[in-house]
Amino acid sequence: MNQKPFSDTSYEQSLNEGKIMGSKCKKCGALALPPRQICVSCFGSEMEWVQFKGIGKLTAFTSIVVAPPYMAKEGFGRDNPYTVGVVELDEGVKVVSRIVGVDSKKPEQIKVGTPLKAEFIKKEEGAEIKTILVFKP
C-alpha cells in the first residue's frame, strides 16, 4: 500500500515516475487531481491513491505570446508562443497543463474537444530534474 501523503510533493514525485497519481475519497468516491487531503465533496479525510490513464480532451486553452520570465528563459515569447489548457481526463477530473504538438501560432485553428494524451517531459531546474506533465493530440 502506498503510504505517501496526499500532497503536491507526492504528486510531483509520481510524475517523475511517469505516473499521474491522484486521490479517491474512501467515503464518497470523489476523485481529485492533484490529490487532496480533505474531500471537497463530503469533507472526508480518508483517501486512497488512484492512477489516471492520461487520456482526455481539451476543454479550454490559450496560446501565450507575452511570456513570463520563467517561460521566456526557455525561448518562448512573441515569435515563439506556447499553448496551455485545461484537459478533462476520461475519469472526469480536469488538469491544467502545457499542450504540445499544436500550432501555437495559429490558435484560431486549435479546437476545444480535441482528444489528447499525456506525455512526460524532463526539465532541468537548477541541480534538480523535474518532470512536467504535458498533453498532445
Binding site: 503536491d8 487531481l33 492533484p34 471537497v40 476543454t59 479550454a60 486553452f61 490559450t62 496560446s63 501565450i64 505570446v65 507575452v66 511570456a67 513570463p68 520570465p69 517561460m71 521566456a72 518562448f76 508562443p81 506556447y82 496551455v84 489548457g85 485545461v86 477530473v93 480536469k94 488538469v95 491544467v96 497543463s97 502545457r98 490558435p107 484560431e108 476545444v112 474537444g113
Partner: protein
C-alpha cells in the same frame, strides 16, 4: 441555525475620493492616498473632522513586491494623523479594497465603531511590465503558474471555453472594448480617456508624421482585428482586451446610518453586500462562470431584498474583456450565454437599459489593483448622487447601483449594492 441575512445596523457612504489614475513614477502611495483623502474630505457636504475617524481599513495587493514595502497600515495612519488608532490592511489580490469596504461595514454594523475610513492603493509603475506580470501571477493558483499560465492566459482560457459553449467569437470581446472606450472620454480620472476612434486617429497621425503609408480601417472592429494595431497577448486576449498597469488610490467614508445626515443631506446607503471564494481553473466545474461572483451576488441580493432586475447600473470587474461578459451573467443581469448578445445589442451602453462600467471600467479608467474595489464604489456613489457629469446615467430616477470586484483569476469576488433613499 440559519445565517442572518441582514446587518445589525445600517451603514451609509457620506464621502469619497479617487486620484486621477495613470503611471506616476515620481510619486508614491502616500501621495496618492493623500490626494484621494483630501478630495474625500472636501466631498462631505456638511464638513467633517478627520480626528473623528474611529478606524481605518485599507486594501493593498502587493506593494510588498511592487515597491518593496509591506506593513502599510501604520504608514497610512501616520500620513493621516490617525495614530494611535487602529488601521487594518486587507489583501485579496485585485479585490483587496472591496474587502476593506466590507470589513469597515461589518465593524460599524457590529456596533463597535461609528465612523470608518476605507480605502485602497497600489503603485505598479516602478516595475517593468514583465515584473508586473510576474507580480500579478502570484495571485493565480500555484498549479496554473507551474503549467505556464499568465493572468491574461487564464482569462483567455475562460474565453475559449465560453466561445465553444455559446458559439461566440472575438467579435463579442470587441463589443465590450468599444463600449467601455466610448465611456472613457467622459471620465476625467481615466488613464486612457479615449474612444477606439481616438486611438485610430492617433495611429494615423503617427504614421503621417513618420511619412509611412497611412493605415486604413473601415471601423473600430477592423482596427481591433488588425494584429499590428491590436497585437495578441494570450489567445484570444489581445492588447485591447487587457486593462493597463496603473497607479492610484481611492477612499470612502462610512458612517452608521443613524448619524449619516450629520454629514450630508444626501447619504448613499449600503443595501446589500456579499463575498465569495472560487476554485482555480482545474477544479472549476464550469469554466464559463465565477462561482465566487455567484455566491457574492446571492448574498448581496438577499441582504438587500432585491433581484438583478432592480439594479439600474453596475460597475463590474473587466480586468480582461471576457470577464465583463461572464460577470454580467453571473450577477443575473443576463442569462448564461446571453451576456455577449446583450453587449452586442447595446444594452450595457451608457444610454442602455443597464449601463455597465459607466466609468469606462478597469480597461480604460485604469486598474491600480488595491485601489480598484473602492474606485468602483466611488463611481457608484458619484452616479447615485447625480454628480457624474457627462457620463451621468440618463435615468431621472436613479436609485440603485452596484459594483462587483474580482480578486485574482476568480479566487475572490465581491458584490456590493448601494442605494439612494
Amino acid at each position: 441555525m440559519a445565517r442572518k441575512v441582514k446587518l445589525s445596523r445600517g451603514v451609509a457612504v457620506v464621502g469619497g475620493g479617487l486620484t486621477k489614475l495613470g503611471l506616476f513614477k515620481d510619486r508614491n502611495c502616500k501621495d496618492f492616498f493623500a490626494e484621494a483623502f483630501v478630495e474625500m474630505v472636501g466631498s462631505i457636504d456638511k464638513g467633517f473632522d478627520p480626528k473623528d475617524i474611529d478606524a481605518v481599513y485599507i486594501g493593498n495587493y502587493s506593494n510588498d513586491f511592487f515597491v518593496n514595502q509591506s506593513h502599510w497600515g501604520p504608514i497610512i495612519s501616520d500620513l493621516l494623523g490617525h495614530v494611535p488608532k487602529p488601521v487594518t490592511r486587507t489583501e485579496a489580490a485585485c479585490a483587496s479594497s472591496a474587502l476593506a469596504f466590507r470589513e469597515g461595514v461589518l465593524a460599524i454594523a457590529s456596533g463597535l465603531y461609528d465612523i470608518i475610513l476605507v480605502g485602497g492603493f497600489e503603485q505598479m509603475s516602478k516595475r517593468t511590465t514583465e515584473e508586473v506580470a510576474e507580480g500579478l501571477a502570484m495571485a493565480s493558483s500555484p498549479y496554473e503558474v507551474a503549467a505556464g499560465f499568465t493572468f491574461p492566459g487564464v482569462f483567455g482560457t475562460m474565453a475559449t471555453a465560453y466561445f465553444a459553449k455559446y458559439d461566440a467569437d472575438r467579435e463579442a470581446l470587441f463589443n465590450v472594448t468599444i463600449k467601455s472606450h466610448n465611456n472613457a472620454p467622459l471620465n476625467p480620472k481615466a488613464q486612457f480617456p479615449m474612444s477606439i476612434r481616438d486611438f485610430m486617429s492617433v495611429r494615423i497621425e503617427r504614421s503621417r508624421k513618420k511619412g509611412e503609408p497611412l493605415p486604413e480601417w473601415k471601423d473600430e472592429k477592423e482596427f481591433l482585428r488588425d494584429p499590428v494595431a491590436n497585437p495578441p497577448v494570450a489567445w484570444p486576449m489581445h492588447l485591447f482586451d487587457c486593462c493597463p498597469i496603473s497607479d492610484g488610490a481611492s477612499c470612502i467614508l462610512l458612517v452608521s446610518e443613524e448619524i449619516a445626515k450629520n454629514f450630508t443631506d444626501d447619504p448613499i446607503y449600503l443595501a446589500g453586500m456579499g463575498q465569495g471564494s472560487g476554485y482555480s481553473l482545474h477544479a472549476k466545474k464550469d469554466l464559463t462562470t465565477y462561482e465566487a461572483t455567484r455566491a457574492a451576488a446571492k448574498e448581496a441580493y438577499e441582504m438587500a431584498g432585491l433581484t438583478p432586475k432592480d439594479i439600474q447600473f453596475s460597475e463590474v470587474h473587466d480586468c480582461f474583456s471576457i470577464a465583463e461578459i461572464v460577470h454580467i451573467e453571473d450577477l443575473g443581469f443576463f442569462k448564461p450565454g446571453e451576456g455577449h448578445k446583450a453587449v452586442a445589442e447595446g444594452l450595457t451602453r451608457l444610454d442602455g437599459p443597464i449601463p455597465i462600467n459607466t466609468s469606462g471600467g478597469l480597461k480604460t479608467k485604469g486598474h491600480p489593483v488595491g485601489a480598484t474595489g473602492i474606485a468602483q464604489l466611488y463611481e457608484v456613489w458619484v452616479q447615485l448622487r447625480g454628480k457624474a457629469g457627462k457620463r451621468q446615467v440618463p435615468n431621472q430616477d436613479l436609485r440603485i447601483g452596484a459594483a462587483q470586484n474580482l480578486g485574482g483569476t476568480g479566487g475572490t469576488s465581491t458584490f456590493i449594492i448601494l442605494e439612494r433613499r
